[in-house]
């Protein structure tokens, strides 16, 4: 099988930004030919004569003119609900949504039923995903057994089985000693620790603490419920010398703490989600349960700080925290509704809004959605000869209206239903296979 992606603007942040053709043979990039002397970093191949007339021998030619061709997007924070809550999402529907959103890889959090704290569950996820021959799925194992925060799960076995990181996402590690030992032990195993930062003594609420919560009579969650634990984890990263990755940053205080920690060399990385740089707590308006998530949507100042954190490098990654819930969990009183929204199919368009607003360059967006997650997780994700052809083709001018009812995710809990977007993933390629085409 030979494929050519023709005439796209190839953007591999820090390495390539030039118009060219990518030749794919048997799932791997076999050659890259640039059309003219575009700027490119050293080491990037440019071989005009390396293949004679590929158009005659290709099985498929994709005309990518006017499009970007980027290293496959990676969402390092999703919930696939499988095993155990397949009525919300399955590995199959989740990765279809991922492919449609331009993602070539996702990392799935361990809060399944049972909790993924074992080789069996990790292998089930990996084997199920492999059978589907689509987007790569990298399971994240639990930090503690059943994510109960009492004893460490077996990081060594989880890693052998294929887990790419550990996290008790959704169940914050309240015990500082457990977090300390998790970071230390993970260093020996060589596995990344991802922390959901929340002080549960402070977080007895259902939305951001502020005027909107006061007006609606809903219990508020203060920013400090997050930032206290971000600062604790920074202190523990410094103590242990083990890198901690902070999940779903939502507050200005967290952004500030991470930025300052990085300045003095503490090993910390961080992600935020598209809803935190797009929406504020005013979206809860009339008790909209599709604006209920944890951490909650924050103030306009927090939203702005998150955008600045993305721009200046305090925040490394955009990840969706894709959290499918059915109407059973969402069509309820606000207090009773579950936290979380789906995000795989809206992440890239929302990121492109930041580019359109001038907050980020396109290359920096791809850095946050592809290169940085790969680096943090120890994956390679370069557009280069010999590499697996994991590519996302993006039309930056494609105007479309997101209709959640037509989405691929099994769940429909999105606050972005009906939003008009400019820019979309047109084609997602994993290992040389087209897994999604608009």
């Amino acid at each position: 099988m030979r494929m050519i992606i023709k005439g796209g603007r190839i953007v591999d942040p820090g390495r390539i930004d030039a118009v060219g053709d990518i030749l794919i043979d048997n799932g791997r990039i076999s050659d890259i030919r640039f059309h003219e002397s575009g700027k490119q970093a050293s080491g990037a191949p440019s071989s005009v004569d390396s293949y004679a007339d590929p158009q005659k021998t290709a099985d498929r030619i994709i005309d990518a003119s006017g499009w970007y061709v980027v290293p496959g997007l990676i969402d390092m924070h999703v919930h696939l609900r499988d095993p155990g809550q397949e009525y919300k999402e399955t590995i199959e529907t989740g990765i279809q949504a991922a492919a449609a959103g331009g993602f070539t890889a996702v990392c799935c959090m361990p809060n399944t039923r049972p909790v993924n704290d074992s080789r069996q569950t990790t292998e089930y996820i990996i084997h199920t995903a492999k059978r589907l021959q689509s987007v790569h799925v990298y399971p994240i194992g639990a930090i503690s057994r059943e994510s109960k925060g009492l004893e460490l799960s077996e990081f060594g076995e989880l890693k052998e089985a294929g887990a790419i990181a550990v996290s008790d996402d959704g169940q914050p590690v309240s015990d500082s000693q457990l977090m300390r030992r998790a970071l230390e032990y993970a260093k020996g195993v060589g596995i990344r620790v991802i922390s959901h930062c929340e002080d549960t003594a402070l977080s007895h609420g259902v939305m951001n603490e502020g005027f909107t919560a006061t007006r609606l009579g809903l219990a508020g969650i203060p920013n400090a419920a997050e930032s206290i634990m971000v600062m604790r984890d920074i202190a523990l990263a410094e103590l242990t010398g083990s890198l901690v990755h902070i999940a779903h940053v939502s507050t200005r205080e967290s952004v500030h703490a991470i930025r300052e920690a990085k300045k003095i060399g503490i090993p910390v990385t961080a992600e935020t989600a598209p809803h935190y740089f797009t929406l504020t707590d005013e979206s809860v308006a009339a008790y909209n349960t599709n604006a209920k998530m944890n951490p909650p949507l924050r103030s306009p100042e927090d939203r702005q700080a998150v955008i600045e954190g993305l721009a200046d490098g305090a925040i490394d990654v955009i990840a969706t925290d894709h959290a499918p819930h059915s109407v059973l969990e969402k069509d309820l009183e606000f207090d009773a509704a579950a936290n979380g929204i789906i995000g795989l199919e809206t992440s890239l368009p929302l990121g492109l809004r930041l580019v359109a607003e001038g907050a980020l360059s396109f290359a920096l967006l791809i850095q946050k959605m592809s290169k940085n997650p790969a680096n943090i997780l120890g994956l390679t994700n370069d557009i280069k000869t010999g590499a697996s052809a994991d590519l996302t083709l993006i039309d930056p001018s494609r105007v479309h209206i997101y209709c959640v009812a037509n989405g691929y995710s099994k769940s429909k809990n999105s606050p972005f239903d009906g939003w008009k977007f400019k820019g979309a993933a047109m084609c997602t390629i994993v290992g040389g296979r087209v897994v999604y085409e608009m």
Partner: protein, 312 residues
């Protein structure tokens, strides 16, 4: 005025004209409760469901009596006797109630926004009888009725609301209602009981009780829920009553004709001393009496009093 609002969900949605119309109607209906035979046929053949998902005595009985004085059939459902305990969702329970063709559903619920949710899911008029910390419009309206009855107006009055503002739907609804009617509202209580951004509702905030009641026309004391002590909101009832309890001694600093109000139930000796609660300026029982008239007015207006058949 022609009444054309279907639901009574919160104070925010009511205009000055609507608030005035409700209180005017209640003033007119109040006399019925003074009669030997306390019943008029106005809502005969109408069914009022009192759907109380949270414990309540005063408000439920008040709505029940109001419905009966208008000859409506009132049916009470509490959380423990409803299918909610069998795992049915709120929406399903409400849809089942609606299938039995009631004319009004009065709902009390522990979750803010539950009455709004119901109003979106069923076509029956909904009256909010208190939802979480959000709103308690019938209480605010009866409070305004009581003040207007004594003072002859609401515009230009100064009202102090004292206590746990943070957890109080009564406070929120009164802040919105009184300020909308032109009154000046000031709030007092410990900072632990002041919700974020409350000033944006149009009230001023002080932590000093004496400052709050200086020169006001109305002092509204809120009930202290004793279980809140466990959430570190105040150290002891003793200290709370010393700093924020209304006593005759403190009342000396207020205007001689100040009105003393309380939504009940009273914690005598905590937020209000017994002699202050029973003093000349106290209208606490007038509030309860007016509550029946005010709720008669709400039922009358939404259950097809002057409203036309078209439901907007």
């Amino acid at each position: 005025m022609m009444w054309n609002r279907k639901h009574i969900l919160d104070m925010d949605s009511l205009s000055v004209a609507e608030i005035t119309a409700i209180i005017d109607t209640a003033d007119g209906l109040k006399e019925i409760s003074e009669r030997a035979i306390k019943k008029v046929p106005t809502l005969r053949g109408k069914t009022v469901v009192l759907f109380f998902h949270e414990p309540s005595t005063r408000t439920r009985v008040s709505f029940d009596i109001a419905a009966k004085r208008l000859s409506a059939d009132a049916i009470s459902i509490s959380a423990s006797s409803s299918s909610l305990v069998k795992g049915e969702t709120l929406i399903d329970t409400a849809r089942n109630l609606e299938a039995m063709k009631p004319d009004v559903i009065v709902i009390r619920h522990s979750s803010a926004g539950a009455p709004l949710l119901l109003s979106q899911k069923v076509s029956t008029p909904i009256i909010n009888a208190g939802d979480g910390m959000h709103a308690h419009p019938s209480q605010a309206l009866l409070d305004m009725m009581t003040v207007r009855e004594v003072k002859g107006r609401l515009d230009g009055l100064r009202v102090a609301i004292v206590g746990d503002i943070s957890h109080s739907r009564v406070a929120r609804s009164n802040i919105i209602g009184f300020t909308r009617m032109g009154a000046d509202v000031r709030l007092a209580g410990p900072p632990t009981m002041m919700p974020a951004g409350i000033e944006a509702l149009g009230a001023s905030v002080t932590y000093d009780f004496d400052e709050a009641i200086d020169g006001v026309d109305v002092i509204m004391m809120l009930r202290i829920q004793k279980e809140r002590q466990q959430r570190f909101l105040f150290p002891t009832e003793r200290e709370y009553s010393r700093r924020y309890g209304l006593t005759l001694e403190r009342l000396k600093k207020a205007k001689p004709d100040v009105m003393i109000m309380h939504p009940g139930p009273l914690n005598r000796g905590v937020e209000i001393s017994p002699d202050a609660a029973d003093s000349a300026g106290s209208v606490i029982l007038n509030q309860v009496t007016n509550g029946v008239a005010l709720r008669m007015a709400l039922l009358y207006l939404v259950a097809g009093g002057p409203r036309n058949a078209d439901d907007h």
